[in-house]
């Protein structure tokens, strides 16, 4: 069992003929993901890596029955790609692209909330259900099937943690990178709820970092609504204070956002917080 995606997920690649899209599609296929096709406007009818390319997501979905898509298109086109996937009724959209302006994402989010699609990202490594499917850019070989769910705001730090788990023989149900942008499609709480509901997930690892208040909110959620053990790590204890100008940010977020605050909130919720990523396996039972 797993959350979000498994071996039956039929995956479309938006931007399949681009450099990154092509490279990672190959890796996804190699991993065993059921990639059913790709979309690159103007290249419909071509074939890439043995998969059909379509001009539009709508046409691709009609032909392939895709129910998930991974977006590798450049920032300037990424919001359009998200809207296109939503409009075509794709259930799970994973947006790898980084560099989308925050105002654009606020608008995307408003639209998403009225749709039946779920967006992971943007600016995220995607997700990985070990042994079943890889939607995004996480290196597949660092993970192994098991019963720990992983959710993270970071990219490469997620790999570090997953790798550390695997090294110690602790497998994962699903590893989810939700992305580090201020506004994204799916947050900690959404994923924690999915892990709570997933019978195969027995424990959860949460990887946060300084900034924002998502970890604090996650801590409150864990205290109120989770029965499963959660172990966490927060990056940024030695980071210099941000060069924030003006008062608005401080007013909105209060004093929160430091590693100390987040760790305190998590501890208060009964979450054990690791001192460094490689210590996480030791805190799991």
């Amino acid at each position: 069992m797993s959350i979000l995606a498994d071996e039956s997920t039929r995956v479309l690649i938006q931007g399949i003929t681009g450099r990154e899209g092509l490279f990672h599609t190959e890796q996804m296929i190699e991993y065993g993901t059921d990639v059913v096709g790709g979309v690159t406007p103007g290249k419909g009818g071509e074939w890439v890596l043995g998969k059909p390319v379509f001009d539009t997501v709508k046409a691709a979905r009609e032909s392939t029955g895709a129910n998930a898509s991974v977006i590798y298109v450049p920032a300037g086109f990424a919001t359009d790609a998200i809207y296109e996937a939503v409009d075509a009724g794709i259930e799970l959209i994973v947006c790898i692209t980084e560099g989308i302006p925050v105002m654009d994402m606020m608008k995307v989010r408003e639209q998403l909330d009225q749709s039946t699609s779920r967006l992971i990202g943007p600016n995220c490594p995607g997700l990985l259900t070990p042994g079943e499917a890889k939607l995004g850019i996480m290196p597949g070989h660092i993970a192994m099937p098991g019963n720990v769910g992983v959710v993270s705001r970071s990219g490469t730090l997620t790999y570090e943690v997953v790798y550390a788990l695997t090294q110690k023989g602790i497998g994962q149900t699903t590893c989810v990178g939700i992305g580090g942008d201020p506004v994204n499609g799916t947050n900690f709480i959404d994923v924690l709820q999915m892990f709570e509901d997933d019978p195969a997930t027995e424990q959860v690892v949460l990887i946060g970092e300084i900034g924002g208040t998502d970890e604090e909110k996650a801590a409150r959620f864990i205290a109120s609504s989770m029965t499963k053990r959660v172990v966490a790590f927060i990056a940024g204890q030695t980071a210099p204070p941000g060069k924030r100008m003006g008062h608005a940010g401080a007013i909105v977020e209060g004093g929160a956002g430091t590693a100390e605050d987040k760790i305190a909130a998590l501890n208060a919720a009964g979450v054990r917080v690791a001192e460094h990523p490689e210590q996480i396996p030791d805190l799991l039972v």
Binding site: P101, E110, T156, Y159, V183, P240, G246, V252, E253, G255
Partner: protein, 383 residues
């Protein structure tokens, strides 16, 4: 990207917000001339991209042009929180009957822009928020609808603004939101918005931050970036597409990904060292980018050891390895280096490093191992 006070206010003025008729001076003589031209008392204000300049003595009143010259001389060249003052703004001094706070920012929790106003503006607004948060009136803005007039009235009503100022306040709030949204800002703030001696509203201080991700479509704003007061390394890093912040420690860190970079820095601390910098080479970094990053790290004289921690996803370990080799061809160094390459194409990356056979470079398997080796190596250099 942050804008200077004078840049922010000029931008605000384009949107119909009243600002004082001041100008920027780069030397005391210029300050004298501006003050003379303005007539009457002036305020000399350090233009630095950091907060707290008032408490640091970067804002001073001057009654005469001569005094303005003298104050400018004192302030120019000051160092405020590591920022050197290279420009001062000379604004006419205003009689202040009341100080209002008015700011727009993006509230990431609500995923919407938020406009806030308070009758108790000025330097202590954060204290007001802590002690009496109800004195700050807040309205979330629908990103599609924009700021609506009724919301501005809710603010005016909430801060008990005198009725005769509502019309001016409407115009200023509308202008501020337009400046915010049309600039792709993450912050647009007037603090204080004063009621001046003639009973009118005037934006005497202003701040804007622009979303770096949106600079590609804001060429006019991108050009406003002031790199003159910023460490050269940071300017260079940005030009190379790297994210770099100088710190005080001795372990130079090159990492892919901000979260992993912070975790790596935290790790050096945990093993008794101290990071010399934050440096994220980003996703999919090519050889030339890695070379630039290495050059930037090695320029810092405090650096005693370099720690490479690369976990490949989009970034491929082989390309990073090639980058390291290339950079070492250009920038010779005898400093000890610890390299850890994991993830996409890691075998190929390790092979490239091994074959280059660099004497002062060691490999590491885990992050803890890498950090421990780097801290030890730095200690040996220092000893």
């Amino acid at each position: 990207m942050n804008l200077h006070e004078y840049q922010s206010k000029l931008r605000f003025a384009e949107y119909g917000i009243p600002i004082p008729k001041g100008r920027v001076a780069r030397d005391p003589q210029e300050a004298y001339e501006i003050a003379k031209e303005l007539g009457g008392p002036v305020v000399v204000k350090a233009q630095v991209l950091t907060g707290g300049r008032g408490k640091a003595g970067g804002v001073k009143l001057a009654r005469t042009p001569e005094e303005a010259q003298q104050r400018a001389d004192e302030i120019l060249g000051m160092n405020i929180k590591d920022h050197k003052v290279l420009k001062v703004l000379i604004d006419p001094a205003s009689e202040i009957r009341a100080e209002i706070y008015l700011g727009v920012t993006n509230d990431r929790a609500a995923r919407k822009p938020l406009i806030m106003a308070s009758a108790e503006g000025g330097m202590d607004i954060e204290e007001v928020n802590r002690v009496s948060p109800e004195k700050i009136i807040r309205e979330h803005i629908d990103p599609f609808l924009g700021l609506r007039d009724y919301q501005i009235r809710n603010l005016a009503y909430g801060i008990e603004l005198p009725r005769e100022l509502w019309k001016q306040f409407m115009q200023i709030a509308r202008g501020l939101y337009r400046a915010y949204s049309e600039s792709d800002a993450t912050l647009a703030e007037i603090n204080p918005l004063i009621i001046d001696g003639s009973g009118n509203l005037l934006a005497v201080d202003g701040k804007m931050s622009i979303d770096d991700n949106a600079l590609f479509r804001q060429p006019q704003l991108a050009e406003m970036r002031d790199t003159s007061a910023e460490p050269t390394a940071e300017t260079e890093a940005r030009a190379a597409g790297l994210s770099y912040v100088k710190l005080d420690g001795e372990i130079g860190c090159m990492v892919n990904g901000a979260g992993l970079a912070m975790a790596t820095m935290d790790m050096t601390k945990l093993f008794g060292g101290s990071p010399a910098n934050f440096l994220d080479i980003g996703g999919g970094a090519k050889a030339d980018k890695v070379a630039a990053a290495l050059r930037i790290i090695l320029v810092d004289p405090n650096v005693k050891a370099v720690l490479f921690n690369i976990f490949g996803g989009i970034t491929r370990c082989d390309e990073v390895a090639l980058g390291i080799i290339e950079a070492l061809d250009e920038v010779k160094t005898g400093l000890p280096m610890v390299v850890r390459l994991v993830g996409t194409n890691e075998e190929e990356g390790r092979r490239i490093i091994d074959e280059a056979n660099i004497p002062n470079m060691v490999g590491a398997a885990t992050l803890a191992d890498a950090a421990r080796k780097a801290v030890e190596a730095a200690r040996n250099v220092q000893g």
